[in-house]
């Protein structure tokens, strides 16, 4: 990657500039996001008041857009950990200037994903029944249930990502603290926990950071595997498949990378970070998308091949139904957006052009959302017994909560963009050669 042409003081100046008071556009975007979150709040109030009947969920599709959103947002979270932890372990230098944003995406996506299983409970105020504690009569949660694994996996992932995110922030918060005044200085000073950059702090810090990265790496693979087992452990045709875990993990990273590109490009433009987030960063992400896109495409083909090759008529019927049935348009959006369009990134001109990058990334996000929808709804709408077949149609509640979840995510991201350094100051400095004098009396 291109070496930065910078020095330490310049890095501080450029990167702290992103934290200057926001302009009018930021407030407008914030207001829009808050309006949609309020809409979600209204829809939820309706659900709590009248029950799950206000959703479009009905037999046989008792899991639809809510679980689609859950799986989608958990997936979005994955690329952040890939960039911050996996690429860290591989000593990939270009991660330095994008990992903070990617990690923020992880944390906020999980905060969004975590809402859905709870909303979906029907009686959300009993969500604590999922936690491991002794209930009436000595009963504990059923640890053989994939839904309980989900609780453990997603909660662990959320806590570990938050710790990892905050640990990475501490030295940067000290830089902010030292260059601000008044109440800001006090708040950032508290958050920086008295960071002074001493050799003792660095020694333990670098060690702890390495271990957190090493723990986050297997964790990220396990989380979407566990999410996929929510489906694969059942006997529903189209779900009961051993390919699900790797297929979901690849899909998760595919959608997450696209989301990171979608967010990095405006960030780079608005904050004028071209010296930090260079074309080569985006190009590298695009190359990763080609890889994950190929894995996802391969999984689609394998699923169809196995459904046909198994001669299991139920399995084959579900896949036939996906491709040509009631939801065929969703299936084809998914195939085109996730596997065919990303192949355009093989062309260097396309993966180095900002409009193409934004366009294709947005399409991949759309495609991945529909992939979740396709997997969940089509299998439930047509399982073994034709008597139970049905069609799912969302109501305004489903749609408002979905729109609200996107707004909730962007609300946090907007706050992050102004309140925290969006590019890691310390890690960028680490990539620079330290200032040396040489010669003379040294």
């Amino acid at each position: 990657m291109a070496e930065y042409q910078l020095n330490y003081a310049q890095v501080d100046r450029d990167l702290l500039k992103t934290m200057e008071p926001p302009g009018r556009i930021w407030y407008i975007l914030l207001a829009i996001a808050m309006a949609f979150v309020a809409l979600m709040g209204f829809a939820l109030a309706n659900q709590f008041r009248y029950g799950m009947g206000v959703w479009g969920l009905t037999h046989p599709t008792m899991w639809a857009i809510d679980i689609t959103n859950f799986v989608f947002w958990v997936g979005i979270a994955h690329s952040g950990t890939l960039i911050s932890a996996v690429l860290f372990l591989f000593r990939v230098r270009w991660r330095a200037s994008i990992y903070r944003t990617a990690e923020a995406v992880t944390v906020f996506a999980l905060m969004t994903a975590g809402l859905f299983p709870i909303i979906h409970l029907g009686r959300p105020w009993y969500f604590y029944w999922l936690l491991p504690y002794q209930q009436v009569g000595g009963l504990w949660p059923n640890f053989r249930s994939p839904l309980i694994w989900d609780v453990f996996a997603v909660l662990t992932y959320m806590l570990v990502s938050m710790v990892f995110f905050f640990t990475g922030l501490v030295p940067d918060l000290a830089v902010v603290r030292d260059q601000s005044k008044g109440w800001r200085r006090r708040i950032y000073g508290f958050l920086a926990q008295g960071w002074q950059g001493t050799d003792r702090q660095w020694r333990h810090y670098t060690s702890a950071y390495l271990f957190l990265a090493a723990l986050a790496t297997p964790l990220v693979i396990s989380v979407h595997s566990v999410v996929s087992w929510d489906f694969a452990m059942s006997v529903v045709p189209g779900w009961h498949s051993t390919i699900f875990a790797p297929y979901f993990v690849a899909g998760a990273i595919h959608s997450g990378l696209a989301m990171v590109i979608t967010l990095l490009i405006p960030l780079r433009r608005i904050f004028r970070l071209d010296a930090y987030i260079t074309q080569s960063h985006l190009e590298n992400l695009a190359k990763l998308i080609v890889l994950t896109g190929l894995i996802v495409g391969y999984s689609y083909l394998t699923e169809f091949f196995i459904a046909w090759y198994s001669s299991n008529q139920f399995e084959w019927e579900v896949f036939r139904y996906r491709a040509v049935g009631d939801y065929a348009w969703i299936f084809w959006i998914m195939v085109v957006c996730n596997t065919l369009i990303p192949l355009l990134f093989f062309v260097k001109k396309i993966r180095t052009s900002t409009p193409w990058l934004v366009g294709i990334s947005v399409l991949i996000n759309v495609g991945m959302w529909f992939e979740r929808f396709n997997i969940i709804v089509t299998s439930l709408a047509r399982d073994y017994d034709p008597y139970t077949w049905g069609i799912y149609k969302p109501t305004w509640v489903d749609l408002s909560i979905t729109a609200g979840s996107f707004a909730w995510f962007f609300l946090w991201f907007l706050l992050f963009a102004k309140l925290l350094p969006v590019v890691s100051i310390v890690e960028v400095k680490e990539q620079l050669p330290p200032p040396v004098k040489g010669g003379g009396n040294s």
Partner: protein
Amino acid sequence: MSGQVIGAVGHFDHFDRLLKAIRVLRASGYDNLRVASPVPRHEFEEALGRRESPVRVFTLVGAILGGTIGLGLTINTSIGYPLITGGKPIISMPTFIVIAFELTILFGAIGTLLGLLVNARFPRLRIGPAFDPRFCQDQFGLFVYCTQEQLETTSNILQTAGAVEVRHVEE
């Protein structure tokens, strides 16, 4: 800041000068040194002769504890309330390993965090008198613990090594 000198701190603009100062000071018998730096660099840790951080022990203990708790929780609660679900054995290891795995990671991470807090003495509400905001920006600081009598010599060594500024630190 009442009297009592506890040492001198040299500000360095250049990394090689800092390393040289560390070597000179250690050669002259000063072992109580502290470096403050805007970035982590292995060079100064080597020059200071620091040992490997013990945080890894915290990680290991946390992870083992988490795995044990995960297995203990699932196995014991299943034995305590033996309800067969899905025709599976009461102790269904493949499914319990998922829980044990997640708790291994969770407790490993909590252990790492504790290791960081304990070893690096976090959180710290008061910032030491030797600290200067520039040490988080673009300067390196070298703090030498010494007595009032050694102060002159220490400052001289720091200055000769290339410190752009030498401050005396009082408690």
